[in-house]
């Protein structure tokens, strides 16, 4: 099993047939919470594994940024899925998804504070102690900020990566969304992140609602996100790129064109 390489796509049951027909595919991601830890793997995913396609479990419910200790059962599930698919690494988010016993339903941002850095690092350490493979951490797209940040985004992320030794899962669309919604320069953030720690990068589509750019994963990848991907690759091309699509699936030719656009922007071979 090799690490993720080249252009990949998020495997979802709805597009399993499309993904199975991609001749050059070497890498997919699967939502860890959607896979039964005891198996069997969904048939489409098992077939990809037999082809030698690298499968990376992507967790969305660990809540590593929660002030409470991460739930050991959730870590155990992520680790079991990693072993089931023979994954070289797993990934999760720098975010929290529940607090006080209430589920938020999605990834929420942390205050960029020392206290939050400590909380994340403690939970990542708890997870690393139990996981069979390394973890990559993904910064999220946030629609609001906490009022009392002590660090900027780059310093916040760099400190977490340095203290945990984790890899970075850099989401180009999230970097774009945050910069656009807060009026910053997305390329400037790239200049301050440890790009050599990027295990792979996410690319996804989004749309504007009411003056805010939303990282929806249900819309086309905008040209500006592809431009930022080119900026990233010009600085330090990640080993792999992954297209995330989570609904409103377009016709196969449209999705193939998005994968080709990722390949063209990065110089990786087309997988279609």
């Amino acid at each position: 099993m090799t690490g993720p390489w080249g252009v990949g796509i998020g495997w979802r049951p709805e597009i399993a047939g499309f993904v199975a027909d991609l001749p050059g595919l070497r890498f997919v991601e699967v939502i860890a919470e959607g896979v039964a830890a005891t198996g069997p793997l969904p048939a489409g995913l098992a077939a990809l594994r037999e082809r030698g396609v690298t499968v990376v479990p992507h967790g969305v419910r660990l809540s590593l940024g929660g002030a409470e200790p991460v739930d050991p059962a959730r870590v155990a599930h992520l680790g079991a899925v990693a072993e089931l698919v023979g994954a070289p690494l797993v990934s999760e988010h720098i975010a929290f998804v529940r607090a006080g016993g209430v589920e938020a339903g999605h990834l929420l941002p942390l205050p960029r504070s020392r206290e939050a850095v400590d909380a994340v690092c403690a939970n990542v350490a708890r997870a690393q102690a139990e996981l069979p493979v390394p973890i990559a951490l993904e910064p999220i797209a946030a629609l609001f900020d906490w009022p009392d940040d002590e660090l900027d985004e780059a310093a916040f992320l760099t400190e977490i990566l340095e203290r945990t030794g984790a890899f970075l899962l850099l989401d180009v669309a999230n970097v774009y969304a945050n910069a656009r919604n807060s009026g910053g320069d997305p390329a400037a953030l790239l200049d301050r992140l440890p790009l050599e720690r990027v295990a792979y990068a996410h690319v996804a589509g989004g749309a504007e609602h009411g003056g805010h750019y939303h990282d929806t994963h249900t819309d086309p990848v905008p040209p500006a996100v592809l431009d930022l991907l080119r900026e990233l690759c010009a600085r330090h091309r990640p080993p792999a790129l992954l297209l995330e699509r989570d609904g409103h699936y377009p016709p196969a030719p449209t999705l193939r064109a998005e994968l080709d656009a990722l390949a063209a922007a990065s110089g990786f071979p087309a997988v279609t």
């Binding site: 589920e103 938020a104 339903g105 999605h106 906490w146 009022p147």
Partner: protein, 148 residues
């Protein structure tokens, strides 16, 4: 671990999904944007678990779901859709496709409205909006379609 961060995270989640007040210092307009985005995302996830309910409501799905879910934390997509379908049944506004989906679910699983639904071990039936579904040995059949 810090009690302060834990409390502030809990207050933020409550403000976003449980009708709580905006925590001090946060931009209420930005929180409103995030609250709406969470509801849109949740509506999409529930529609995946309840495709006929969502299809039956058609263009009214997003507004209907958001109206029901605002201020009500998720119990998971399966239960969210189930609770909404039952409420629409009580209001008499459950569309026929949703009624047939609800009848089939009620025939297959026992759901007390609080914990996770459990498969029925014995034969069961479900009805909603005129639709009647029966389940025997885990197989569900729609005996009668909903009123249209």
């Amino acid at each position: 671990m810090s009690g302060d961060l834990a409390e502030r995270q809990a207050a933020l989640v409550a403000a976003l999904v449980a009708g709580g007040p905006p925590p001090p210092g946060f931009d209420p307009a930005a929180l409103a944007v995030a609250r709406a985005a969470l509801l849109r995302k949740r509506a999409g996830e529930v529609a995946r678990h309840w495709p006929l309910l969502a299809a039956g409501l058609g263009p009214r799905w997003a507004v209907t779901f958001a109206g029901w879910a605002a201020g009500r934390p998720t119990g998971g997509s399966l239960r969210d859709g189930w609770d909404l379908a039952r409420e629409l049944r009580e209001r008499g506004t459950l569309p026929p496709l949703g009624a047939e989906e609800l009848a089939a679910r009620e025939a297959a699983d026992r759901y007390d409205g609080h914990g996770p639904p459990r498969p029925r071990r014995l034969p069961g039936w479900g009805r909603a909006g005129g639709a009647v579904a029966v389940q025997v040995a885990g197989r569900v059949r729609l005996l009668r379609p909903a009123r249209r």
